[in-house]
């Protein structure tokens, strides 16, 4: 097989997607002036597939901070953090993030993906073990692979399965990093984090929590699922992203139990990539302040989640999990999912189309993500869009669904 035959395989995959008759992968969104509305192929749509959980991409304070920073500090740093790419703003963001999370230190990265790859591949190495949830994000798999550690999977969100697999490792648990996420991005299901903490502690292993999706939206002050459960001190390491609730781009690595700062000079994904632009850092800092005082935003977000979840359930859609900002509707096939996605778009609602292998268990689904910025009217329009889909796809009205994936 020649090197370039891989291109043919990739083209075949694109063709298969094309045969679904929709342009879901290449959909270009024209966003102007709103966190919740945009245009796709000239048509005005409600954006309900953006992970913009708190709607901060258009927060006036965040925009002003970014605009001021770009005028004062320029468009880019043109260097890595260890060279010329650490400005006062980068250091300030790390201090503020650490103070917010109550961690000993925090390291900011250029993206959330890079944060996971860098942190995981540096924490574990040859001779160590990484035990990861089967439904982990690609960045976790990549970091684990790069580390050179032995990698094992346990069944998704299953503390008993983790327990069994750690038992098999015996004394090697002391060299084992267990990795879980808080809220899983495809189905919107939440990890039984307190049970995972108990299992990891009992075996003497270490726990890394990827909090990309619950950071900012769970917990009294927005510190995520661990804050909700009152177990932040039990978690060894936490990674997260700025590109969901904080509305910008970037990632972090922090710990309450261990000082991660010395790892700056070890993490290659930190040392050898350009640092975040000053405007991104500035808007992220402004957004972090909004998150810390964001109880009203979180209340609005969860109200929206409950309403859409209730609406879709009563329409007969089988959903992926209990109410959360990610509401996945399970479809019978990739073709049905594609038709439903197009029908929703026709009805003026943009969500994410997910077909195999993008979701766990080879599921095909419509992934709706909600925002605190969605108005009550937009929330009702989203549900009406799904009603139009139900009418087009279901032969007869369905009874309210209850089961989760």
């Amino acid at each position: 097989m020649s090197l370039l035959q891989k291109l043919d395989a990739a083209r075949d995959f694109q063709d298969q997607l094309g045969q679904l008759g929709v342009n879901a992968i290449g959909a270009t969104i024209d966003v102007t002036g709103s966190a919740t509305e945009g245009r796709i192929e000239g048509k005005r749509v409600i954006l309900a597939g953006t992970n913009n959980y708190l709607g901060l991409t258009f927060d006036p304070a965040c925009i002003e901070a970014a605009a001021q920073a770009v005028r004062t500090h320029g468009t880019g740093t043109t260097g890595s953090r260890l060279a010329n790419g650490t400005y006062a703003g980068h250091a300030a963001l790390e201090r503020e993030l650490s103070a917010f999370l109550g961690t000993r230190s925090a390291i900011a990265f250029t993206t959330g993906y890079v944060a996971n790859v860098g942190a995981i591949s540096t924490l574990a190495g040859p001779g160590d073990v990484i035990m990861l949830d089967a439904d982990s994000h690609a960045s976790i798999y990549e970091g684990a692979k790069l580390s050179g550690a032995e990698i094992y999977r346990f069944r998704h969100n299953d503390p008993a399965d983790l327990d069994k697999r750690l038992r098999r490792l015996g004394d090697r648990c002391a060299r084992t990093l267990v990795i879980v996420e808080s809220l899983y991005s495809m189905l919107g299901d939440v990890a039984p984090l307190d049970q995972f903490c108990e299992v990891v502690k009992r075996h003497g292993a270490f726990l890394l929590l990827d909090d990309a999706h619950s950071f900012g939206i769970m917990g009294e002050t927005g510190r995520g699922l661990a804050e909700t459960l009152g177990i932040e001190d039990e978690i060894d390491f936490v990674t997260g992203t700025f590109s969901k609730s904080l509305g910008s781009v970037g990632g972090f690595f922090a710990s309450r139990k261990h000082d991660v700062a010395p790892l700056r000079s070890q993490i290659r994904a930190y040392m050898f990539t350009a640092s975040s632009t000053p405007s991104v850092i500035a808007s992220t800092r402004a957004a972090l302040k909004r998150v810390a005082q964001g109880q009203a935003l979180r209340s609005q977000l969860w109200k929206n989640c409950e309403r859409v979840h209730e609406g879709l359930t009563s329409l007969g859609f089988k959903l992926g999990a209990a109410p959360s900002p990610v509401i996945a509707s399970l479809m019978d096939s990739p073709e049905q999912a594609a038709a439903a996605w197009q029908a929703l778009l026709d009805a003026g609602v943009y969500v994410n189309l997910v077909v195999p292998p993008g979701a766990p268990k080879n599921l095909s689904l419509l992934r709706c993500s909600l925002s605190a910025a969605h108005t009550d009217e937009q929330v009702e329009q989203i549900i009406e869009g799904y009603a139009a889909v139900a009418q087009r796809l279901f032969d007869q009205p369905r009874a309210a669904a209850t089961a989760y994936a």
Partner: protein, 79 residues
């Protein structure tokens, strides 16, 4: 240590249920090219075998496994 034949038999049984339409396929069968398993399917097969034989199989080693026989030898070495 369990026997190679026992490992092969267990893998064949699991595959008969999931991918081979109930039939027992030969040990030389390529898991991906011949039986059509996706990488996720292979990992789920590994999980089932880990539980069946109470062993830990690192997924880093999957790259060296192409056939049922390859997998059986690996599992056997872990018991």
């Amino acid at each position: 240590m369990i026997s190679y034949d026992e490992c092969v038999s267990e893998i064949q049984t699991l595959l008969a249920q999931s991918h081979a339409g109930g039939s027992i396929v030969p040990p030389e069968s390529d898991l991906i090219d011949e039986l059509g398993l996706a990488s996720l399917d292979v990992m789920e097969l590994i999980e089932a075998l880990e539980d069946r034989f109470d062993v830990a199989f690192p997924i880093n080693e999957l790259g060296d496994v192409r056939t049922i026989a390859d997998l059986a030898r690996r599992i056997q070495n872990l018991t």
